[in-house]
Point group: D2
Chain length 378, copies 4
């Protein structure tokens, strides 16, 4: 069986998933066969180029036509484009793989989860960091009882690409399109990872959001640089999302959580870190040191730096010998392998839209807590 | 002029300060001369031994007699013993150097600050981590504008000595004696360091406290091991303080803060860490790597690991050549040098009781926030 | 123009290069078009599978037929198969990309370099670690004078896959096939990197080689496990190469070098590290932290950890946003891009066979030095 | 019994040992009592000041008078002053603690070892880095068989204080006084540590020495800065020792060693590092991270960072709670405790002059190897 796929979105995420699909046959020969069929977007010239570069057959400018023409619909568009096309595809029995966060609003996320619930198709949300081998390795340890009772989780996701106030406005700065800022874009990963790894659910949160720079220059028509005449004459748009958030959390089992994400954390590019402390051990991960997991066993005296590249590590038998490190994009290969295998078999994919909705509820609770100045139950 | 000193307390903190006093003449020849006069406590046998070991002249069992016999009174007792002796000493015109946190209650701290205010004597609170050379170096950088606008501060203080539920009860587990647990013992350091380094004050907080183990065995009469007959027959006492706390903070200038301390952070012994991100740079410190400061300059691409051991680094001209690292106890030498110099000169010491009170207000606000489930203004 | 390519070898290196070729169109659209034509080997069943998996058209069992049927011949076989096929291909005007070390003997390397010299085709040797972005970044810094006078280089390449004496024999343990062991397999990389980065040539060396385990079990017919009956009955073959080497070197410009590689360095999987100290700065790299370069500038106080993933870093505009890290296999994409571009344009590739020969002369000098017990001029 | 001590030398090493003696009573109450009696030197004004600062009774300008007036003679002078006073003291039955390297020449070292052999007094050489708790901890592990067969040792000692060609000349640059440069000053530590830790002896070496800057300005009469008139008019003296050395070694048991030290390793202040790889495990230490030992156990996957500050770690029961880190100077406290205890008991101290001589033989062999261009048996 060959699965035909269509992508809504053809830029950063489009390339990441197209690359993943292209690599499956050589490294995961048992993955379902895939036909890269159609890219959906608005700019026909850009679409035409992307079709060539990403190895697709064609492009389309109307997602409504596409959602039932393909076997699998990838929703890689801005967050406010997640709901309607995904729901339409699911209603048409088309499998849907949707980027995170699930939606730009909690209401939309609920509608999406409901659509997934009532569809026979497979619906997955692309929390790709679950598929880092070091994270899978940690998950297996934890499921095995390695941590004992979990007392603490702290998860940060630090970037600094907006610390320059002249960095250009993009849809990621718009509440209407993105829903939230660092919270939804980065925090969604942290929250999902935390809940996934410790196998527990956040019960209540106290959140804090902040926008450091209120408006940003609009990029020029070429999509790139700013007006050379200087900032006076530059058109700006308001930043209506958070530049950073922090949150405290209490999990149902009593674990204390601390969460933070920022686009203003000078010196950090993509520092998605998580540490968990339990009664019997601890683990620590930093995405910038992708191939390493730090583990502390109950009978050890300090953290052990494990290079998770051995043949019996998760997914590693598909790749290279020990110490021949993988990179960020491999998470997409792994998650596409899992999602497409599930779709082909008619199985559920984990994480599914229900998982995405659970994260979205936490995002919403953090925002509500920030507004109300008090703890909010998720 | 020779300053005679008396210590209330002669265990861990007693030895740390006694050692500091003993080392001043060789390394800080311009420090005031000190006569180690009297140790105050209750157990005469232990006191007698400590007098010998720490190089004191004598001991006493009643602090009331001592506070006006010495020039300088060191209050190194449990937190609930901080107020009355310190106030009595200050009222007697005796300089007071008091361990942190300033007191076990906010009310007591206020009375102590008032006593300091109305006394001509010098009153200092022993936030020793200010006197780590790397911290002083960071402070000088920051005062020089190195960070630009400060967006983020995150400060953790992680230990794991209580993760074992059979670890014995001590006064640090008693609210009556200690006031709070990880919050006051460890969090006080974090809060002071954060406010000191960025030169700004926490405006409001959201706090979360938790006690993971509710009662602990009482150590045997020999002060050491547990009853060999097993836990059934072991006498226990309730733990009435937090084992861990987390907090979010908003500083007056808008900086977002995240704070956390725990005695349950498996794998961490004394991980007092702080990171600050500003618009122009960042700094990062970890007490377990005492001699290092990580700095990120605006024109740099990554954190630079500075070994703060050069002759022109803070206090380093008093010690060894570059790369000949210092340790934890040197913070006590430095703070005693500063405090005694101030006392001898009739100057104020920074941090003073007002600083201690400000920290105490934040501690109290975090506790109140935890109880009320909402943000609390400091 | 489309370049047809044939590979001699279809296992580890075959997959690494096949993957690189497959990825060029999506990420390096200006690379020459490539037709993956033919895989050459002996085991037809394995070849047939590899043809499918790697996206080739066909296989062949006789390299002599192939070398003038393709535009580019990749020599990815064991070292003793490097000379004749490569020379035949070059004589036929076919471009040759040959894995390192150039050959199993110095004599063979000299014949290969002579063949390359007299051929119009492009001949490249696959020192892939030159094409790590962090290494390219370091090279640019160094060419810019960043280091000043270079005093020291130290380069280690540490693995531990042979520390278990029951690890199976392979062609890499045979002098006839491999030429040398850790020296040629790993040391060749270190020597090339050192000479490349500092732009200077090793003048003389003192070498030391050692074989810790003299014979190893032959893997069973299935190419995998050992005889379950135990080691008594297991057939073994002699290990005729070094398990580890060390070398001191003096470069023509006076730089002091220390080199080491081992397959017995317990705890290291692929620790290809190099540090260079100059009068004005230093750089440090570790392959296991692929995306990082540590740089020390003349006006800095410590090493700065640079995450070499910015858009203006070498090759990074072809990949992902800052902090979205690359892995080991990307070096193959980069070197194939460079080699194929050179071949298509009729240009030389750097490193060429002359470079490979220079490294081989150093390898031979290290072996000769070890035998003679004295320094040997390269 | 109180041991009276005299120091030859009262600068860097004088202060390090004086401080150690001063700290023993408070932290090692069972150490012999010590009377800091007499400092020996030439500059009476400086001596007089040092007597006050270091807590001595008096000074003397003639060591010959002193060596039999004291119970213990500390030889902390330049290397060429090690032999005669030490021999005279030993002949007088006075215990001798001598700084490393044992002497400036092999001949002198042999005479010193002979004098120690024929004296009843205790003779110790001050290889202080043996007394880092992390090193003692490593030694205990290794003695327990933790490493299995030792395949590799690599030991570097990197500093950069001479990389500036205008850094002033000192006795450490003079062969007549120091014997050698980085080799004897730093390499002696590495060689001793390596032999001590693995419990094996270097059998043969290949050495390489180099002087990068041939002459250096003489500091002004005040012992400090240079002539303000500039370098033209500055008096210089020749540098007659090595600025850096490298060596390969073969131990009697077959272990391969690599050694290096430099005063030109830009970016390193006091990087005394050692790594040992055995068949069952590895250990790694860096003096700049004084309190950490990295250990790799046979059943572990990566190096574990052990903070060697627990109460049952070597010497730690004398100091502070876990995670309250020690520094460089504590090595002197520990070694003085051991040496004085041995002297008081009439026991040998390890390392003794025989150990110092063995190291000196290796230093001499490295120099001879460098001159002859071939391996030299120690």
């Amino acid at each position: 069986m060959t699965l035909s796929v269509g992508f809504l979105g053809y830029r950063f995420m489009g390339q990441a998933h197209a690359n993943a699909l292209a690599r499956l046959p050589m490294f995961f020969p048992d993955a379902p066969e895939v036909e890269r069929d159609v890219l959906v977007g608005r700019d026909e010239e850009a679409l035409s180029e992307a079709v060539d570069q990403f190895g697709f057959e064609r492009y389309a400018t109307d997602w409504e036509e596409v959602v039932d023409e393909v076997d699998v619909f990838y929703n890689l568009g801005p967050n406010n484009l997640h709901p309607e096309p995904s729901i339409a595809a699911l209603d048409a029995g088309t499998h849907v793989f949707c980027e995170k966060p699930l939606a730009h609003t909690l209401d939309a996320a609920e509608r999406m989860a409901a659509a997934a619930e009532s569809s026979d198709a497979t619906a997955g949300v692309a929390f790709n960091y679950r598929f880092v081998p070091a994270i899978q390795y940690a998950k297996a340890l934890i499921d095995d009882g390695f941590l004992g009772d979990v007392h603490h989780v702290r998860a940060e996701y630090l970037q600094d690409w907006l610390v320059d106030p002249t960095a250009p406005w993009s849809w990621r700065n718009s509440e209407d399109v993105a829903g939230s800022g660092a919270l939804g874009d980065l925090g969604a990963h942290s929250i999902d990872l935390a809940q996934y790894l410790i196998g527990d659910t956040i019960d209540r949160v106290s959140g804090h959001l902040r926008t450091f720079v209120d408006e940003r220059p609009v990029p020029g028509e070429d999509g790139g640089g700013l007006d050379a005449a200087g900032s006076d004459s530059v058109e700006t748009r308001p930043v209506t999302v958070d530049d950073a958030y922090t949150a405290q959390a209490e999990f149902e089992g009593g674990t204390m959580g601390v969460f933070e994400a920022s686009r203003f954390a000078t010196g950090h590019k993509n520092a998605n870190t998580i540490e968990i402390n339990g009664s019997d051990g601890s683990i620590r991960f930093d995405l910038e040191r992708f191939n390493e997991l730090e583990v502390l066993d109950s009978d050890a005296r300090g953290f052990e730096t494990v290079l998770v590249t051995d043949p019996d590590d998760p997914y590693l038998d598909h790749w290279w010998p020990p110490g021949h490190v993988l990179g960020w994009e491999h998470t997409f290969v792994h998650e596409n392998y899992e999602f497409l295998s599930a779709a082909a078999a008619g199985d559920d994919h984990d994480p599914d839209f229900g998982t995405g909705l659970a994260v979205q509820r936490t995002l919403a609770a953090i925002e509500e807590s920030d507004e109300r100045g008090e703890w909010v139950r998720v």
